[in-house]
Symmetry: C2
Subunit: 242 residues, 2 copies
DNA sequence: CCGTCGGATTGACGGTGGTCAAACCCGGCC
DNA sequence: GGCCGGGTTTGACCACCGTCAATCCGACGG
């Protein structure tokens, strides 16, 4: 495969050498022997998407694995009418591994939340690569396992916690701090966050208000958490315990 | 209770050849070359559990992969106090793949819903086997992917559907039929089903009552669905459409 | 036969969060 | 400036579901 087509004006383009270097730092590929990368990426392409673009829709056939190189993507699920955000991805994450492997239609659609750059690995060569490289297989297993555990947390939260607790958990996920106070910027508009947390935008607004009792102060898209440890206690304890 | 002492003197025992034959038919291993099985299973053991036994608890360290050979197991998640059923497994399923791979503590506990037989594959040899057998790796990826997609469905259902729609979906999952009518037996007691669907037992009772309008008749643990296609429409359409 | 126990149902009540509507805020644009 | 549009907030209302309690039912053991 000739990898030296220098410039391409189109949104779709084959990988250039500098892009391969970027891809090599993605967790999914970082454990691989460097010389095996070009083979895996031979049929891959990089696509740029503007903010708001739909990458694919729920129900479409999964023909490629996607790796987010830059920007943010939201995975949304819809049931006749209303829509929710199942997961929000940051740069470096691979997504819809499960759909590609099972060869079944997407259960979620994907929307660019910011301008972004996405690597697309067609299904067939990917499966070949997995069969040929135990290391890649383990990488994919690990990546899928991490997302799986996020979903398990999500299911538990949806079944057992209130909206305020889920929002608190979401906020805590935005800061690495485990105690003390924290100030952070919301990474998306509130409508997206609401669907992510599993409530309507109106409810999110009210829930933010009630979280003031837990030491959460909001102004625009800036949030101040007075005591991270206390907020953490709030979302793990039963509602009765303040 | 103690009538089976003759089969197995101890709850734990190494695999016998006839058991290897059973394991070979489990989907996770069925694609493997038969001669590779004994190596993988060298350090595995089979454990019997009585109904109600806790196999492991949420928070425990994941030291082995579990494969359900016979019986039913419920995976439960708890958040300070209340508990929910995240997944119910039937014979042939592997479980907690994700926890074993990431090496992190279980996010869920496991309880035997019936008497059951479980294969336990210790973590280290399993990882070795994966690295050595691309075929096994792909099997595990496929298995994990299938469970992943079940969880995605679950998250979407919890966020976007009412309790009646989730119960309807659960009932539809119990029959292979896509149209016509169906009669089925509930495979668990109603408390377990309630936690599976994500409601209290009291609510489940009432929801069953409301589903009569959708052609669902319940008597004890027997359920009759007058029109499967109609019920299917009910849980995919918006609530307004009767 | 009766008492007990666990599961299931029914009733009454209240809280959480969805719905609909109006108001509000703020940046872009004519 | 005034106008517009999207995102956000607020208010009023109520459906859905959780909670607590009483009751019912079948299985089991006395």
């Amino acid at each position: 495969m000739g990898a030296v087509l220098t410039d391409l004006p189109k949104p779709d383009c084959p990988l250039r050498t500098e892009e391969i270097a970027v891809v090599a730092r993605v967790p999914l590929f970082s454990g691989l022997p460097p010389e095996s990368l070009p083979a895996i990426l031979a049929e891959a392409k990089v696509v740029r998407h503007p903010r708001g673009r739909t990458l694919f829709r729920q129900g479409d056939e999964a023909r490629a694995l996607y790796v987010l190189l830059e920007g943010q993507v939201g995975l949304t699920g819809s049931v006749k009418g209303s829509e929710t955000v199942v997961e929000i991805l940051d740069a470096g994450e691979a997504f819809i591994i499960a759909a590609v492997l099972t060869g079944k239609p997407f259960l979620m659609g994907a929307t660019a939340l910011t301008q972004c750059r996405v690597l697309e690995l067609p299904r067939e060569p990917l499966l070949d690569a997995i069969m040929g490289s135990p290391c890649l297989a383990l990488s994919m297993l690990t990546s899928l396992a991490r997302h799986f555990r996020m979903l398990v947390r999500e299911v538990k939260a949806l079944k057992l916690q209130t909206a305020s607790q889920r929002l608190a958990a979401y906020l805590l996920g935005l800061t690495p701090k485990r105690r003390g106070s924290a100030i952070l910027k919301l990474p998306h508009n509130k409508g997206v966050i609401a669907r992510r947390v599993g409530v309507r935008a109106e409810t999110l607004s009210r829930v933010f208000a009630t979280l003031r009792d837990q030491g959460v102060v909001i102004d625009g898209n800036t949030v101040a958490i007075v005591d991270v440890a206390r907020l953490s206690r709030f979302c793990h304890e039963g509602d009765d315990v303040v």
